[in-house]
Every structure is written in C-alpha cells, then in structure tokens.
Symmetry: C2
Subunit: 424 residues, 2 copies
C-alpha cells in the first residue's frame, strides 16, 4: 500500500500561519470567557454510539464517523450479519458530550455550572468551500441557572469576545438578535396556525433572511395553509418592531402570550445594551427562529454586515440535558462559529504581512569551530531570556532562499556566523 | 437505547481543575518552544488507513481505532466479505501525521522546518492507572537540518521548558541522557555480536534501568549468545564513563567507531551544558537505547528522580520521512511525555488549594428589580475590564452550598444582592 500525502477527504493540514491566527483567537476566547466565570472542560473525541444516535441530534446523526468494534465483538457483529459494526463514533457536536459529562460529573460540579468547551467535531458532510469534515467548535453553557441572568451573562460575554476579536481588523459593529420560542409560538397561534404545523411554519420563516417576506408568504401558501392565517402571520412582520418586546407584542399579550416572556426579553436586552461596547446593536428580532428543535425559551444569534451567516447562535434548552441524561436541569448556551470567525478575520488580513519581524536567526557556517558554536548558543539563550524568538540553523548552500524563508517567518535580523565570528 | 453517562472505556472527562493545570502546561510549552523558533502545526485526527498500517508504527499498528467506510463503499466491502471495512483510523502518534504533512506541504514550509505539535492521539491499549486510550502528545521536530545544531536546539529548548514547568513544584533537577545509535552499534560490534543480533541485544540492554547489569548479563546468556561476547559487552558498562564520549569510547575509536560520532556527541553535550539551568545534568549515557527502530543517530531522553519513566525522549531519524513519504530529508525530534508531566505535577500539588481567591461573585435574589440587576451587571463589567473574574448568578435556596462552591472555584468575594442593594 502506498503512502498517501493528502489529508483525508474534507480535512485539512494547518500551516504555521493559519495555526497562529487560530491559536490567537482561541487564546482570546479563553481569556474573555474566563473573566466571565466560565471554566473550561474537555471530553473525549469519541462517544458511545447509543448516545450519538438517540434522535436528538437531528440531521447530524446521519453524518457520524463510526468507529469499528474490535476483536471478538467485531467478529460476533460480522457473524450475526447485523449492521451494528460500530460501538462508538466521533462526536458531531459539543452538546451531546456536555449532557453526558454533566450527568457523569454532576456531584463534582458547582451549581450553576458555567462551562467552556473548545474542541474538534467531525461530520461526514459533503465538503465544500469553507466546510470541513473536522472543524473546531466553541460552546459556552450555563447549567442550573433558570433565570434570565444566564442569558445576560452568555450574550454579554460573547459580545465582549466578538468586540475584542473584530477590533483586530477594524470592525466595531455587529448585531445581536434576541427572541423567545414562546413569542415565536404565540405569533403562529395568533395567526391561526394549528400547533402541529408550527415546526413547518418555523422552518419557512427561518428562510426570511434569504427569501424575504414575500418568499415566506409564497412558501406558506404553497404548503396549503389557510390564506387567512398566512396573511395575518405576514402582517405581523410587516409592522415595524417597536422599542420593546412588550410594545411590539402588545397585540398578543395576555391572550396568546404570557407577558413575562416579553418582559424577560426586554430586561435581557436592556441589561445587555448597558454592558456592550459601542457599535454592538442588541435587538428584538421576531423573525429569529434558530433551527434546533430543543430550544425551549430565549433564542439569540449574532450577525455581522457583509456576511450572510450567523457568527454565533444559542438559546435556552431546559429539557434537553434531562432527556439525554436523566438529570433534569435548566440550561442555556451559546455556540460560537469559530471557523466562520476565522474566515472573516482571514478575509480582512494581509496574508503576507508577518505579525512581527522581531525574530533573530543565527546561520552557522559548517566550518565554525565548536567553541564559537557554543558562544553563539549562549548569545541566543540570552536573547531568548529577554523574550525574543531566536533560531540557530546551519547555513545552507541556497543562502538566499534561507534568508527569504526566515524573513517570511518573522526573522528580521539574520546573523551569519563564520569561523571568525566575534559576537553580534 | 439508553443514554450512557460514563465516557468510552479507557477515556476520561476533564474536570475544570484538571483542565486548568493541563492548559497552563500547554501554554508554557507553547511559549517556550516559540521562543526557540518552533512553529505550531495541526493535522486531522484521522489518517488514511494505508498510512497507519505500513509497518513503520510497530506495536501501535495493532491498537488503531478504525473508522468505518460509509455508504456504497461499506456495502461493497461487506459484500466482498474482505476485512477492509475501514478506510481510515485515528492517529496513534504525531510522527506519521508529521511525515504526511511534510510531504504534502513541503513547498510552503521553510527549510529547515521547526515544527511543534500538541494534540490527542488514540490507542486501543489495555487501560490501566495513568494510561488512557486518548491522551495528549507533544512533539517538536526539526526537519532538514542535518548538523548537530538540531540536537542542541531540541535538547536546550526541552530542558528550558522542563525547568520552567518543574519550578512550579520546587523541582530544579533532572537528567538529560544522550547517546548515539552508532555508538550503541559499535559497542555491540566490538563485543563480538553479529549484526543480525543487534536488535535483540539492544532490547535486552534497554532493560538496564529495571534489571541492572547482572540482569542484562543473565538475559544475554539465556539467549545463547557467546559467553565471550557477553562478558566483553558487560565489561564496557562496568567501566565508569569518563568526562567525554571521546574518552569513554576511546577503546573503539578508529576501529569500530568513527570518531566524528564521539566528537559530535561531546559538542552537543558541552553546548547544552552551557545553556541549561543549574540542576540540569547532561550526560553521555552508553546504556541508552530508545525503543523505536527508526532512529539513525543521536538519541536522548530526560528522567527525573523518584520516577522510573522517561519524561521526554527523542533522537535523529534521518531516513523515516523519506521512507514514509518519498521526500528524503534529515529529521530530528523530541517527544514530550505530556501526560507524565501532568502526573508529576499533580503528585506535588495540593488539589484543594485554588490558585487564587480573586474572583468576585454577585448573587442576585429573585425579587431584585430590573434596574438594580442592570446596575449589578454594569458593576461586574467594570471589574471584568480591570481583568478580574466575575460571575453573576441567581441566589439559590441552598445559599451555603452555593457559597462553598464559589469558594472552591476561586471566588473569595461574594456580594449578595437584595432589592435594597446600593452598590459594593
């Protein structure tokens, strides 16, 4: 069998420059969330296949990389001819592992528990530009806090983190959209849709950004919903949103919508507005849906001008951890689109501009005597102690390429050492 | 299917405290090696099964977690009844991926290339205390530097890193053992072993630390090697090592051993001695073997008092990248025993001593009005801007447990917020 040089289909090698950018973003994420009291945890890349295929994971369950049973278990599975050849799989998100982790370690964890996870996930998706089969996810979650304090902390921390990261490329503005699944449901009920149609209606409304209100209207009609309901529903979104959720939702309050949901949302929004940097817009967005069916209350999403995708999204999912793990506890989380943030940063950065030229490189000619080499290494060590990046290399025949390589790597100062070297 | 709370067999969940320690060590590794000019890279967790099973990986190839083919490929594989159900597997080390990475990206990489990798590897080994099926490896490698400058940089950088890490627990001393495969071979040839017996002889010598010189002698005899050769071989190790490899190996120079190997080793040792902190012993150790067969020259290992295992090991492997990838290039690397370092640190640290008590926690009673909540969040934000860790939580019924949890988490200051709160 020949050695294959390319990575597995849909996966990638990170070159040093890419890696530096990714690492600096991870450092900033870690630093910011730590300040907000989130503590980092880690779970194995592999999970029991039972946990990954319990129907809570939606479409992602079709994309699992399955790991083959071993030894006798595999022989038995093959002999039985059943399809259960795998006993585990690579995780497709960080939510399933978090639910398992929480159930497994609940007695060692504080209440509430503010978790930060940064890690790889794997999905056997069709690879395309910017979509890989292994990619980094970054999730923050607050487990066991059932008040809106959780939402405020999550949104404020994430806004702070995004502000810090985007300030590197001179972007100061982005939008945080906030809504509540209860408002979403109330609007559909008010318009006259029946409850069993809600999920289809929401899937259509979720396309609002792409197809506009007319598009939503047409698709609803195409699905055969009563014209009356469709018109009433569309009218809601035609009315410009007012200052507060309470005002905007005024027509449903008391009847279709308990006012506590509108007031909660208004408190979240006004608190977050009081905490974020200038340039960050925090708005009630009644068109916000968020795909995952497990959300039970508040939902939120960050978007940025010129990009059609959300850069972070989350919400409250009070039932899910209990459903997964049997430990019933409230939960609220925010998932950061790490790869999307990297894409935006890369779009705005000059790939040829090294961050610094501070590095020092010593190039040692092969005829240099041992005692001179020792002296050079000591000199290098001194500079390293001062915090400088220093490399000591043999002088190559192609000295020009070597110096060019070094310049690209940030070595602005190159010292050539021959036998008569007397110190720099 | 029921949800399973425990991690996959042999794998583990990292609690926040463990994670903090691991992360701080990773940060220090990264910072130190960066100063020596190593640049971090990353490869996917999965590799082509062909690359993982090309017989260079030794015993590790038996421990691969194989990933099932998908869709039609899987159906075909099952129909054919052959054993090739997997087209990829999880990497069992960082060396195979590095060889593939180098071959794949050589045109984008500087020459020489100093790489740093920190990442998980997976081995379906028998789990036991301190041995896991997913664990972190940390490798530095210099590719394309065929002089001893590579060895000096690798050993000096690793010694520096270990000195910094162990200073946290008051350990200042460890030993760097250095030798050369050519000296190992010369000693065996000098004693009269024939070349085809070398690898068995080395496997026996490798047990020196555990069974002592007498044990080595007995095992060699038991293997039926000529008594004369065994005696001559054992005598070499009875003679105390002299100041330099040149002196210690004097009896073989010119005949069995080219003096350049002894001189090279002496230059490496004297250079490194001139660079390391006090307390670090750098010694020529003729009993050093290093298991992997791919080493071609210098070999080295770090040990620390009271622990029987090596905490880092490496050497020169000039042929391997070429064998794997077809790109013939010299290489030298050092693999850090990350999990072993964590074990040593944990052994010496008080698990109940939180690093700091600087955190501030606001506990908000549920009757607190929205405007007070907003004020608290603003206050929290101020403190975060000053770099403090601050959490805002709902006040729980079990206030005592909440405050205890917070104290364990490093929150030395707890502010209770009721409706009459007027600022801290």
């Amino acid at each position: 069998m020949d050695f294959i040089k390319t990575p597995i289909k849909g996966m990638r090698d990170c070159l040093p420059g890419d890696m530096k950018l990714r690492q600096s973003v991870i450092d900033m994420i870690r630093e910011t969330y730590t300040r907000y009291g989130f503590t980092e945890i880690e779970t194995p890349a592999m999970e029991h296949i039972e946990n990954l295929t319990n129907k809570q994971g939606g479409e992602n369950e079709k994309l699992i990389f399955r790991i083959l049973k071993r030894g006798q278990s595999l022989e038995e599975a093959l002999a039985e001819g059943k399809n259960e050849l795998a006993d585990s799989g690579l995780r497709y998100d960080l939510t399933v592992p978090l639910a398992r982790y929480y159930a497994n370690n609940v007695s060692s964890l504080p209440m509430p528990f503010k978790s930060l996870q940064i890690g790889s996930v794997w999905r056997a998706d069709n690879p395309q530009k910017g979509r890989f089969r292994q990619f980094t996810q970054c999730d923050i979650d607050i487990i066991g806090e059932n008040s809106i304090l959780a939402e405020i902390e999550l949104i404020a921390a994430t806004s702070d983190m995004l502000t810090r990261i985007f300030s590197r490329i001179g972007i100061s503005g982005f939008t945080v959209h906030v809504s509540d699944r209860n408002i979403l449901r109330a609007m559909a009920a008010y318009a006259g849709f029946s409850e069993e149609d809600f999920s289809t209606v929401f899937i259509i409304l979720d396309k609002f950004d792409k197809i506009g209100l007319d598009g939503v209207e047409n698709e609803l009609k195409k699905n055969g919903y009563p014209e009356d309901a469709v018109r009433k529903y569309v009218d809601i979104f035609k009315t410009p949103a007012k200052d507060t959720a309470r005002e905007t939702c005024g027509f449903m309050l008391g009847s279709f919508l308990d006012e506590k949901y509108a007031d909660g949302l208004d408190t979240i929004i006004s608190c977050v507005r009081g905490m974020v940097a200038e340039g960050v817009n925090v708005v009630f967005d009644p068109t916000l849906v968020r795909g995952m069916s497990y959300y039970t209350g508040t939902i939120f999403e960050c978007t940025i001008d010129d990009y059609h995708f959300a850069i972070a999204g989350g919400g409250r999912y009070d039932k899910m951890i209990g459903k997964y793990s049997g430990v019933d506890v409230s939960a609220c989380g925010f998932s950061i689109g790490f790869e999307r943030i990297i894409t935006i940063l890369s779009d705005h950065m000059d790939p040829n501009a090294p961050a610094s030229k501070d590095g020092v490189a010593y190039l040692i000619h092969q005829d240099t005597p041992a005692e001179t080499v020792l002296r050079v290494f000591r000199e290098a060590q001194e500079k390293r102690r001062e915090g400088k990046t220093v490399t000591v290399q043999g002088m190559r025949k192609n000295l020009k390429r070597q110096i060019d390589d070094l310049a690209l790597g940030g070595y602005g100062s190159v010292v050539r050492v021959y036998k008569d070297y007397s110190g720099s």
